[in-house]
């Protein structure tokens, strides 16, 4: 459903991604791992046109994402959860979720039910300001808001970054649960081993280039990858 073809991207004049190709098929969980500064987040942001694209194509459901507006991407079921600052702190949890999409009240209620079902701790916090929540709960709000539009492909930028250990496994479990409802997932993750273990396929980046690609298990069992990128 998503196919990135030789993409070059960066900020202004500085090129960070040097010709990476990548694919996500329907129903898959795909992880992008690699050391700090390898361009993982930049690659993810390039899909959503949040960085400057210098060359290459990004095809998603028969349209070139480099040529359509962010609004059109959202309409096509593409949803992005940023790594940091991913909630509106002075708005309540419910208002945060509402801003995920402009849909009818009835439809919104159905989405709320699904989101609260997935993240029960949000139910009692729904009238509380998102800025007062813990890191893990904020991440739940960010996920919830991305789910309001009924996405087909969810882009997650380091969903467990800065979370307490108890939340890391929980959030990754939720990623799997969301995937089981038919949503494809492309995530950048610093907990490389955990991410690859739950992924259908994975890509290892270093210095803005793709170094390895294989099934999640294949990458975990690859000794070279393990030694160089997964800490032995």
């Amino acid at each position: 459903m998503l196919s990135i073809n030789e993409i070059y991207a960066g900020y202004g004049e500085i090129e960070i991604i040097h010709g990476i190709s990548l694919e996500v098929n329907e129903g898959e969980i795909v992880s992008i791992v690699g050391p700090n500064g390898s361009g993982k987040s930049t690659l993810l942001k390039s899909i959503f046109s949040l960085v400057d694209i210098m060359g290459g194509q990004i095809n998603y459901l028969n349209s070139d994402l480099t040529k359509i507006t962010t609004d059109q991407m959202i309409k096509k079921g593409l949803s992005f959860v940023p790594q940091t600052d991913n909630v509106f702190p002075t708005l309540t949890v419910e208002e945060n979720l509402e801003l995920g999409a402009y849909v009818s009240k009835k439809k919104l209620q159905a989405r709320f039910d699904l989101i609260y079902n997935l993240f029960p701790p949000l139910v009692e916090k729904r009238k509380k300001k998102a800025g007062t929540l813990s890191g893990g709960q904020r991440q739940m709000v960010a996920f919830g808001r991305a789910l309001v539009i009924e996405p087909k492909l969810l882009l997650l930028d380091e969903p467990t970054a800065g979370l307490a250990p108890m939340y890391i496994d929980l959030i990754l479990e939720k990623v799997e649960e969301i995937n089981k409802t038919g949503v494809s997932i492309l995530m950048v993750e610093q907990n490389a081993k955990k991410a690859l273990a739950m992924s259908d396929r994975g890509y290892v980046l270093a210095a803005g280039e793709k170094k390895y690609e294989d099934s999640g298990r294949g990458l975990l069992e690859n000794e070279e990858v393990a030694q160089l990128f997964l800490g032995g």
Partner: protein, 191 residues
Amino acid sequence: MVAQLFLNGVILGSIIALGAIGLSLIYGILKFGHFAHGDLMTLGAYFAFLFKVQLALPFWLAFVLAAVFTAGTAVLLNFILYRHLRKRDSVIVMISSVGAALIIRNFVLLVWGPQNKFYEKAIQMPIIIGDGLLRIKQNQIIILILALSLVIAVHLFLSKTKLGKAMRAMADNIDLAYVHHPQLLYQVNWQ
């Protein structure tokens, strides 16, 4: 005496409160100090003078027309000035608003002159409360009620409507708002 001063302060404060809400909305969402805001308020008062006194329209019609024309001027300012500077440093936009303030101020002087103007010249008798303790005039009551209603209306707009919530979201985190509703941002920015 103290009670009367307090009442006068509340009335004057309620006029300033309306301006302050607009100013803080602009600063919160578009992140620049809008120096022409007070001048826009003045222009609104002169629009009211134009419709009420010079064109002799009924009070309520003049009130609505003055509001519409002032809002129109603000939109026009955005179209001819601020939107072109949207990607520049907020200090640049702020300085351009000082220029806009000077233009509006001198436009008022040019059209209506520097003398004081009056909506009504007749003497208005105050309502006396508590055996002469407090005196309040009819127009002061209208100012108080209108200011209070407008403050409540702005609060309801920001807390209950989708556009209002989106405006608060923009003030909170403009990059995140862009990820979710780029189109809405253009609406809020009148682009």
